[in-house]
Symmetry: C2
Subunit: 206 residues, 2 copies
DNA sequence: CAGGCAACGAGACGGACCGTCTCGTTGCGT
DNA sequence: ACGCAACGAGACGGTCCGTCTCGTTGCCTG
């Protein structure tokens, strides 16, 4: 029995030009009018593309935006340096973490990143399938850098050996993430510095 | 100059019956078909109510759901005990925090709470005005309980006096929140226990 | 207790987008 | 050079939006 789900489009004939135009249009519209008011029809017309071209290659507007944002991130990563980036190791864990988190604070304020990443995060909260893809392709690779740096710190004796690095990183990354996502508090360099100090030395008296 | 924004509906003539029916319909639909597929028309027809009655009292479906969920939370809080709830103080901070967080883990799995609170959190990520109301009316009052308990711990010498309790609570609350919101990891009692231990004693060797 | 008036349930209305479906047209692979 | 599938364009029925009328109902005031 022949299935007519979809005639399985031919990737080799795909128009690179249209793909790029769709990415650009999607990112621009989300930044300009917001995610809820961004429509497939709007993306298509702005990209100078037929709606069917979008529906042929993507299943939803969230799907389009996720790919567009991944592409943007990869471009930015290539422009900034080599792909396998890592957190610097000066031998001073606290200082290294504070530096990276300060940079993250600045990045969270960059409008070009803020609109699409908020939109994707919001969609992911309510759409588990997309949320897991967002995490696997974007968030987890970033978190892995902290795992690596924390493991190095364990070998250097700066972190207790029985600590699980994947959980440890959440002590300073998740508070920042929550303040940003949910507007539960201001985001400053002083704040992230404090998080690192609290996490490394604990709340209890020593 | 007479403004015709809206004729300012008369609260005293408002139908309590309709209000309750709308809350129930909104919560039920979000749980049954999900937030994106929940529509104002759907809520109205399920509640046996005219659309205009919804538009007269609320400005958006997110607004309806926030009020409905606040109402549900207040009911649940009254049913469970007196309103000014607080975190128990047995003199063992770690044990008290672990208990509360375990209860929170269980609550996060309750389907009746999960669907609407996810929907509101997602909307809040992308809609700052609603996000701030969500935080102010629902999240922050809960977090304040941790602030109180941590202050008591400071007076008892269980927490260093220079620690800011509002930030300290984020070390164990935010990681749980992020795992739940973004599916960045499994949520278990063992996990939250570990968070409390890490937060209290720090990552660095003592 | 009667009357008036605003909120009510119901649903018609134009408009925006949805996702699907044709059209010719274009441009890549054979 | 040819053929075929992806392309831009847009028509189509459908859903939901937010606004607007209808009578009807039920609560405050006199």
């Amino acid at each position: 029995m022949a299935q007519n789900q979809s005639p399985a489009p031919d990737t080799s004939r795909r128009s690179e030009r249209s793909r790029r135009a769709i990415y650009d249009a999607a990112l621009a519209l989300v930044a300009e009018v917001g995610y809820p008011k961004t429509t497939i029809e709007g993306i298509a017309s702005r990209a100078g593309v037929g709606k069917q071209t979008i529906y042929r290659w993507w299943s939803s507007k969230a799907d389009v935006l996720l790919e567009a944002f991944l592409d943007l991130s990869n471009q930015a990563a290539e422009a900034a340096g080599q792909a396998p980036y890592s957190i610097p190791d000066t031998g001073d864990l606290a200082a290294d973490l504070k530096n990276v988190l300060r940079a993250t604070v600045d990045e969270l304020r960059d409008p070009a990143f803020e609109a699409p990443s908020r939109a994707l995060a919001a969609e992911g909260v309510v759409n588990e399938e997309l949320g897991r893809r967002f995490v696997a392709q974007l968030l987890e690779p970033q978190l892995q850098l902290y795992v690596d740096r924390l493991r190095a710190a364990q070998e250097a004796g700066e972190v207790r050996p029985d600590i699980d690095p994947r959980i440890a990183l959440e002590l300073f990354v998740s508070p920042l993430a929550q303040r940003w996502l949910q507007y539960t508090g201001p985001i400053t360099h002083a704040y992230t510095d404090t998080l690192v100090d609290y996490a490394l030395h604990g709340l209890a008296p020593r």
